[in-house]
Amino acid sequence: MTMKTVLNDQHRALGGRMVSFAGWDMPVHYGSQMEEHHAVRQTAGMFDVSHMLVIDLAGERTRSFLQYLLANDVARLKASGKALYSCMLNEQGGVIDDLIVYYFQDDAFRMVVNAGCADKDLAWIQQQAASFDVTITPRRDLAMIAVQGPQARDKTLPLFSSELAEAAAELSVFHAATVDDWCVARTGYTGEDGFEIMLPEAEAPVLWQALTDAGVAPCGLGARDTLRLEAGMNLYGSDMDEECSPLEAGLNWTLAWEPETRNFIGRKALEAKRNATDNKRFIGLLLEGRGVLRNHQKLFSDGVEIGEITSGGFAPTLQRSIALARVEPNMGESCTVEIRGKQVPAKVVQPPFARKGKACINLEGDKS
């Protein structure tokens, strides 16, 4: 049984090419993934991300519960509305999911988790919460729309109530403002400025229409993927999963080791590997030869296999092919990628590849 977001009719009316994604009937594009990608980098685009799950956590011990549940430390969240990106790990240090957690009050936090992980996440959180007396409320009554791009905030603010518009206009990056059941966060998954708006389902079609009328381009999952790849952001299930440690997925920066006394799930397993010299490296790649990098293509150096692409594709902003890859720790600054039996040269680059409308890496190199 495929699930539908409250905006399903809108997607179909706009000519959305619908696909099944994590059990949801979602638009992959509305005609041209490439044009949608450029709209977000150059003007403004919007995504229905209502398939993601909002989870509210309430209770006096919510903060200490989240300090135990998450590998990043919610102690860093001091101002109401502040957001934090974190992994949720299993005891083995594998990634159950990556998520954003928002702090509203000491007894009220919110998490937004991936659609494909929603059921297992809920079960895990409920199981872990048992001894903390925290109330866990999945908010399937909320829809979520991400508006992204250099013009996203200007096009969106006039559509809010005056109270919310005033608060949203003042938001710093990675902060959220709440008025009634609307929560507007200055966050995203594209490498552009913008908002992620959580709101009551019944009100979402009206906002979607108003955004369309304001000239915000509807964008599908396809552009969402190429935008996040250019921005160097990991995708759960491709770049990391329960078998993979954040230490080998470029996510070290999300692990809060201090204070040493904080016992979070997975800490013990990660501590053992924290300074290991055989941890795989997680790198960015720029294809120098002709072709397109794809997930699971193998990487070679001097004829020896040294790793694999975890997310690969064509980067519309760069007009080049890029990838995230997991490789042997001693890898040099270049390699070859096996594409249909041929070895094609690629070089190591530091993500992000493109953000704020522009390339962030040096594109020099022969594209012969």
Partner: protein, 128 residues
């Protein structure tokens, strides 16, 4: 929905074949195929002079989403390739039956053309 010109012949694997001009036919992919693939970002073509087998893999078209093989609808030798696609693969999306052609084949056996689908046959096969 998609365009299927009556004057062309087709394979169920979504290639089109022009009528014969001095022993040579032009090959491309159909409007339906380009629509299903989405924005093309890379095209790999055979080399001029290369011998192609009937239904052999001979080219690759890659979109933002995926790579897809192109199979030769006939056997013969590659007479010409569409060099413009190297820098502008989007021509296949914009004009699949015109500027977005892939390559030309000098036919080894003209009788093979009789086994190809006509427009109605392709529409039925591809649900296009």
């Amino acid at each position: 929905m998609s365009e299927v010109p009556n004057e062309l012949k087709y394979c169920s694997s979504h290639e089109w074949v022009s009528s014969v001009d001095d022993g040579v036919v032009t090959i491309g992919i159909t409007d339906h195929a380009q629509d299903q693939l989405g924005d093309l970002v890379f095209v790999e073509l055979p080399e001029v002079g290369q011998a192609l087998e009937l239904k052999g893999e001979c080219a690759v078209v890659e979109s933002v989403k995926a790579a897809s093989d192109v199979y030769s609808p006939v056997s013969g030798e590659v007479a010409e390739i569409n060099e413009a696609l190297m820098d502008s693969p989007e021509l296949v999306n914009d004009d699949p039956y015109g500027d977005g052609w892939l390559f030309k084949i000098r036919l080894a056996n003209e009788a093979e053309l009789d086994n190809l689908l006509d427009a109605d046959g392709y529409r039925a096969a591809a649900d296009a």
